[in-house]
Amino acid sequence: MTDTASHVTTQHATGVARRRLGRVLTTVGLLAYFAFSLFPVVWMILLSLKDKQDQLTTYFAFSPTLDSYRAVLGLGDADAGVPFLRFFVSSLVTSIGAVLVSLLIGVPAAYAAARFSFRGKENLMFTLLSFRFAPELVVIIPLSVIYPQIGLFDSYTGMIWVLQLVTLPLIVWILRSYFEDLSPEIEQAALLDGYSRTQAFLRTVLPLVKPGIAAVSLLAFIFAWNNFVFPLTLTSSNAQTVTVGSLSFIGGNEAKFNFTAAAALIAAVPPLVLALSIQRFLVRGLSFGSVKD
């Protein structure tokens, strides 16, 4: 009896020890990954706060200054010589424009795909999905020839048009999954209540998918904002965006690490803030509606 009892106790003790070890390893693993994940961002923040001398050091202690930000944005006397504020405005205009156009085109298409069965539906949806996976340069190379000829090179319109490759597939696919989640009987009830199809849509369906539309719009905005290859190839100055603009501080004779860091952070802030506000939605959004939360 005593043998068994002591055996059980040892087993119990090793169980506790193993669990404690598991907890320690979990914590160590998480800390290691997040150090890897967050250190670069922290370092950029530090670097952006350094002045011209400190930027060449790797110290963590220094007297911080906002000069780099002022210089990058062209505020005050320290001008970095790059119209970064204009790039920022271009990013805003083209991203918002692209999302609005995609909503206008995508909401009816997503609704049609969710509610009606019609010939060519899956072809249309697949074509849109293929835009998501197609290498951008397939379209860019011909466009880089066409755009200058029709005056769309380096223009907001040209950028908004080509960004549809990024925003439209996302919006259509995800909104379709939202519309499909809604029972069609709610709209049918509205029809029988005496509302027209348009009214039924606006009155019953739209309010119910509004959160989804908001979230997918923000995600589409983030992807449009973060896009690099389109502005790189199809703009030169007027419509150039922050992603391309951030590169302008690298190179040259003078080291401008602090400016580069500040520019990178400015470019990263809008998507980060928006992303943190739609955390719950990201699973569905990033998987194109194929994984629902």
Binding site: Q188, L192, D193, Y195
Partner: protein, 372 residues
Amino acid sequence: MASVELRGIAKSFGRTTALADVSFTVADGSFFCLLGPSGAGKTTTLKTIAGLAEPDQGTVLFDGVDVGDVEPTHRNVAMCFESYALYPQHNVRDNLASPLRSPRHRRPEAEVVKRVTEVATTLGIDHLLDRKVGALSNGQRQRVALGRVLVRPADAYLLDEPLTHLDAKLRASMRAELKLIARQDGTTTVYVTHDYVEALSLGERIGVLNEGRVIQVGTPQEIWEQPATVFVAQAFGKPRMVLLPGAVVDDPAGGRFFRDVSGSLRAPLPEGADVAVGTQLQAGFRPRDARVLGPDAAVPDGHVAVRGRVAVTELIGAQIEVSVEVDGTLLAVVGDRARLGQVAEGDRVTVVVPAGRVLMFEHGPEGARIGP
């Protein structure tokens, strides 16, 4: 008000056929019950009437006019969905008021308020008017859905299982209430249910639907007493009708009669039935039509008898349900305890049924009834 007629409606979704051939007429102002098991096509039939489902074949007529090209919005029917289909973003009041605020049926707001209150009171949901529908129980939601139908006059009410999610007591009282409303309003109503008691108690006429086909249309009495097929006979009544397989044999005394496989039941063929000797048939009776007598009791005049052994007895209040085993088949008999007398499990008994209450069908689960 309008009469509603379906002619040869067929509808399939992909490879599954929802409706194969549905035809029936609902007279103006009458109450029509559509009964069938799940998957029979009841909801699709209702949606076809409403214009929400477009039939592949066939026509829907209101007052004899083809309404195939009329949109749901303009058919002027009201429907209570089995899923309720309430507007989740609105409270009960706004859900109920929705039809009366629509462009098609708009009423002055004062009238809307009055009407909504009336209907809510009738349905016992007047204390819930300011609640969001998400905060309601299923039974309450169902009544809101029903209220949204009753709140406005319509050419036809289409009700899809409107009472299923209510508890038993409320269901009985709502059934009575609905019957009253239907009689007062005189609105043409198509009522879908899988519950034969509802169908029998509410319907002026009943249509029995199975696998997308209308098997029989008739008054409750016709359906009960002269079911067209085995399916209809077994769809009504609980416990359901038990059938004994057998065949037509020659009576040495002249004529023919039915004898079941075990030879324990002999019954005259229904009047006017002309069935060849040797034809496979099945015979059955409603459990309430039978009585249980002692093993050696004389068979009363005009009755047929089956002998067997009591397998199980169940007391349900003043009622008793007796299962009698006859050659491997369990026959059910139900009645008052007083009428059925004392029976114990294992007793040998004689089950007697008035000859006229024995129904005979052709062979198979879809077998048609023999006789007038």
